[in-house]
Symmetry: C2
Subunit: 329 residues, 2 copies
């Protein structure tokens, strides 16, 4: 364990580093603590030996290690009171009844991304939690039809397709009726399989050209799996952080953002606000991800804030706590 002044030094160093992004020297701390720089240097050396601080080179100031951040988050940090202004901004959203739930979350995260200069991610409920509510096929002009799939959580996917002339509206209706009769209530990620083994053999008898219809639905269903219902807010915000001020890091993080499946690990099991510092997350060693579940009138998912490890933990945690207390039902 660490001594109480050591804790104080660690806290000050981390907070200074969060503010400036520059290695922190002993002198800037001794001003605050009113003791000599030599004293602080001793404490710093001790903290480094324990693994809470690091040096960038032999005679540089200190930089927090992941272990240091972790200790800070677990033991030293207090969620920072929000300013009245920030609170107000968010409250106008909650009190705007004309906004639908998902739009409200979106707007909130836009504001939070703005306030913090980090990137937010919204991950909706996964396909395994969505059950089939209804399918339908609607004829359009020129032999085009649109196949629509709706889930019980209110997600909608669609696929357009060209059908051949000699398929009749009745045949289409037969197929959709059958799917609606047999598959409603099935989790989306099991639907494809059932479609293959339960529906296909049956419609093969009634419907001459069932392949096309079958494929349309099959594709619409698999869309759920690939899309996984995630999107970013303020994607370029994190790029403003000084840690990404070199071409390689910049490219690396952008490519990870585009390659969306990587961030799948954002899904959160536990109900609190969880902090994953650097290598603690599977996304990127250079970032911290703070994430939490939301559940708002049946609609649920995870929201996450992605920032540098040198993140304003106190501010972000406070924001998310406030957000949660306002949206969770």
């Amino acid at each position: 364990m660490i001594g109480s002044r050591e804790e104080q030094v660690l806290k000050l160093i981390i907070e200074e580093y969060i503010k400036t992004a520059k290695p922190v020297g002993s002198s800037s701390i001794c001003e605050i603590l009113e003791c000599s720089s030599a004293t602080i240097r001793n404490e710093m050396a001790e903290l480094e030996k324990l693994g809470y601080l690091e040096k960038t080179h032999i005679s540089s100031g200190r930089v927090p290690s992941e272990k240091g951040y972790r200790y800070y988050v677990d033991n030293l940090m207090k969620p920072k009171d929000m300013t009245g202004e920030d609170m107000l901004k968010l409250q106008t959203i909650f009190h705007n009844n004309s906004l639908q739930t998902s739009d409200a979350i979106n707007k909130c995260l836009e504001i939070i991304s703005d306030m913090t200069n980090y990137t937010s991610v919204i991950l909706g409920s996964s396909s395994s939690e969505n059950k089939l509510r209804q399918v339908e096929i609607l004829p359009l002009e020129d032999n085009n039809v649109v196949a629509i799939v709706i889930t019980d959580k209110g997600h909608v996917e669609h696929k357009n397709l060209l059908i051949s002339e000699n398929i009749s509206i009745e045949e289409i209706k037969t197929t959709t009726d059958l799917i609606n009769k047999l598959l409603v209530g099935t989790p989306i990620d099991e639907v494809s399989e059932k479609l293959e083994f339960e529906i296909k053999p049956i419609i093969g008898k009634y419907v001459k050209q069932h392949e096309a219809i079958y494929n349309a639905f099959y594709n619409a269903f698999s869309e759920f799996a690939t899309k996984n219902n995630m999107h970013f807010v303020g994607k370029t915000n994190i790029l403003k952080q000084p840690e990404f001020n070199n071409v390689d890091k910049l490219k690396k993080i952008i490519e990870k953002f585009e390659n969306k499946d990587i961030i799948n690990n954002i899904k959160e099991e536990d109900n609190g606000i969880n902090v994953y510092i650097g290598s603690e997350n599977d996304f990127d060693d250079d970032v911290t991800i703070i994430k939490t579940k939301y559940d708002i009138g049946g609609e649920n998912g995870t929201i996450a804030i992605v920032g540098p490890k040198r993140m304003e933990y106190d501010k972000v945690v406070a924001l998310l706590e406030y957000l949660k207390s306002n949206i969770d039902t």
Copy 2:
């Protein structure tokens, strides 16, 4: 006008620069043309005076100007024959009948982005070209409903909302029936207005809590306008180009990509393949955009390739020509 050997020199310089991204000196050209470097230097000086070439500094090799690229595209470039391999890759997509039209275009552009290392953009038909085909509201669990809007081109948007207990299924049905009766066939971008002035006054009489339903549709409709149905393929490809190997340019281009409305000018009026070099496009002076319309079984829109000004014009134009000849109906 330019002399014939001057043309040849310009062509060689541009093609060399496209390959290497480095200023081209007279010696590398005189090897090919079998004359002395001094001769080439004279030609180069002339081409520079005419504005087709530029220097990065007083004693550097030459770099094509926008005017130079323009001349090259208009007069010197021949679309480059595709390799059999490339052709094959694209053909397997066209011959895969199980793919829906929009997916096929997607896949093609994925391949093209890969082959060229540029970024592709697909812009679907705009909201003014889409007419309302049908609206519906589907009840979900716990007073949630999903409002769905479908257009005649087969685009689908939806909005979830929580309705109050005391609104009945009949009232919802009355509203949707009314909209379907009065507004089907209306261009999407005119629907909001009609909703306000034609539908709202009427349903106000029948439906007690019409505000919620009204808002859901209103939001779903406006989604079309904001979403504008665009997406990128290989978004990070262009970042691999050496011209974006510095932090500022990198950030600038990424931010422009995110700020999607800016690229609205990608919409194309004319039917051919159009090249917009640097300042000729409104997107970014550092890039060239090559774009063309597609129309495939009623579905239409614009596809665009975004690359550095130092783009392989001959290759991209050939690819797009081939693509067009295969998809246009």
